[in-house]
Structure formats: C-alpha cells, structure tokens
Symmetry: C2
Amino acid sequence: MPRIADRSEQRRQIGAALLRLAGEEGLDQVSVRTVAAASGRSPGAVQKYFRSKEELLLFASQLSGERIERRMQTVDPTLPLRQALRALVLTILPLDEERRAETAAQLAFAVHAAHHPRLAEVRRRVDREVHDALARRLAAAGTPEPGPTADALIAVSDGLALRLLYAPGDADSLLAALDRAIATLTPP
Amino acid sequence: MPRIADRSEQRRQIGAALLRLAGEEGLDQVSVRTVAAASGRSPGAVQKYFRSKEELLLFASQLSGERIERRMQTVDPTLPLRQALRALVLTILPLDEERRAETAAQLAFAVHAAHHPRLAEVRRRVDREVHDALARRLAAAGTPEPGPTADALIAVSDGLALRLLYAPGDADSLLAALDRAIATLTPP
DNA sequence: CGTTCTAGGATACGGTCGTATTCTATCGAA
DNA sequence: TTCGATAGAATACGACCGTATCCTAGAACG
C-alpha cells in the first residue's frame, strides 16, 4: 500500500479553513479555490478530500455545530441557573473577533439551509442537542415549561447573535436585553 | 423630450423581483441576469435603473425594511399588549409560503450585512425604528425596562424566524416558545 | 411631421466558478 | 529494491458572473 495521509485530520483542517473564510469574508467568498488557498493547499488537493463543494459545505457545517456543542460543555455545570444560562449564551455571541467569525459562519449556514435540505438537517440536529441540554438544565432548576423556555432562549441567543453581526456597537444594550430575557424566563 | 418611464416604480418592481428571488432560491442565486428574468426584463433594462449590483442590493434591502415597517403598522393598536405583541411578531414569522420568502430574504440580507457596512447601516436603521415603536408600546402598557424588553422581543422574533426557515415542522413548539417569551417579558 | 432623446435589448470582455482530467513525485508493501 | 497506489499540483473546459458598449425603436416636443 502506498503513502497515506490522515484523511480525517486533513478534512478537518480544510473545513476549519472554510469556516474561517466564511466567517471573515462571508459565505459567498467561499469557493474551492479560496478555501484551498486559505488552508495552504492547491485546489486539486482539496478535491482529493471532498468530491464536491456541497460535500465540503456539509462537512464544515457539521464541524461548526460540533464546536458549539463542545464549547457549551465547558461551562461550569455547578453554576446557579441564571449565571449558567448567561455563560452559555455568551459562548455563542460574537463579542470578540474570534467568536464573531464563528458566529457569522454559523448564521450564514443557517440562512443557507433555508434552501438546502441537507444543510437544514445538520442544523436541526445541532439545535435539538442544544435544546435538550438546555431543557434538562432548566427542568433540574424547577423552571416551568422547560421545553418552550429552552426554545425561547435559543431564539434570543440567535437573534442577538445575528444583530450583533451588523450592529456590534449595540453590544451593551443587547446584553441588557439578554439579562432581561434570562431574568424573566427563569424562576428567581 | 422623448418617451419617459416611471423610474421609481420600475425600480420598485425590479427590487421586488430581487426579493422574491432571494426569498425563494437564496441570495446566492441573485444575479443581474436572474433578477432581470424574474422581473420580465432584459439584463440591459435592469442596468438602466441600477448602476451596479450593489446599488440594486441596497435598494432591495431598503424596500424589504419598508415592507416590514408597513406591515407592523397594520396591527390593531387597540389590542391588549400581549395580543398586540403576538400579532406583531406573527407578521414577521415565516409561517406561510408568502412570508417565508420575505423572511428568508430579510435574514439573508442581515447575514450579508455582517460583511457589508452599507447594508449594515440599512439594517440598523430598520431595527431602530422597530425597536422604538415596540418600546413605546411597552412603556405605554407599563412594562418595566421597555428598551431591553423591546430588544429581547426583536431577538426572539429574529431567532424564531431564522429557525423556522430550516425547521418549519417545529412551528407548533416554536409558537409555544413565543408565547412563553411574551408572557414572561410583559406584565400580566 | 421631423427631430431628438431615451427605454430597453443585444452583444462583448475579462474574470471566476465547479469540476474533470492528467501528470509527477513519493511512500509503503512485496 | 522494485512496483503500485496515492497525494497533490497543474491544467482544461464550459458556464455564469458584473459591467461596458452599441444598437434600435418609439414617444414627446418643436
């Protein structure tokens, strides 16, 4: 057998380059060529790991979702409910340059999914995991209607993230809105 | 003087065609040629009304914002607060095919604005008008912290709209989340 | 009625796109 | 050490992009 490369690691690197590019310059600046350049490869090398651009997009979307889930797991589970919720949402919001790119990519995928059933399925799967984790946490704290409350929190989080992308100067007042939402949605 | 056409009406028609196309097939399917075809014109005719694609996009984004504001004004102002808020949000959510396209276009513009300062400005202006109208309504009903509450409601609305785009089957549970958010954010 | 200006269509140009194909160098197994 | 499979680069192709330019037909005025 001939020389081998760590395929999944290579795919991960290429997908990460796509997320960086999509986050910093927009999903419409993503092409096989630009992703190849952003990952320090030739376009032909990218083609070896992804048959088509669609496969590359799906992989990157999945990768992005996994990052979110992993980041949410780093929040201290012993925190009081409201502080825990605030910390969870803050891991998503684009409040610094690094997270801004990740959030921008995430939301670009979400909008793209509106016209792309396979991408939509990836998004729904991620949403379900986030929802279930949130709902469990809410139920454990005795919040009434944990299911709808979890969905409301996800919606607030996504809505704030979206708006922060084009109105980063409103961060202060939007964080006040987040606090108000958490305060009213959870028991004292 | 030679034959004249109603320029602003023509521009409005072309912008409407762009919104339709962006909503139904996605913003990346929007090109000068496809917009021309969707509005029953030749690409050259579109060029007569918009110097560049960017100008066309800006105009359409503005048009989309005006539609939202106009639609919000159709909600009966004598309604009790919670019913009024619910009605206002429902005018935005993509719960039928017609509104789905409008919302999809709107959110596509929002994500696009993350990397496009001129589009971002249009979005911020629309958001401010919606926010002020909401805050006035909330303050009149005696809601504490009307400003942050208005921002929270906008975030919930956008977040739900985004998710409904790729998870239309979750409409029932997402409407329950909306009701929960409105119930907790407003005084009884 | 003839002149003039414009609406709108047609066409062309350089660039980028996704993808298929081809080539070469190199590593792993025999 | 030889051989075969693969990594990766290079190239090619047809399609579409935004935009500039040119052309034609017709309505509005003198």
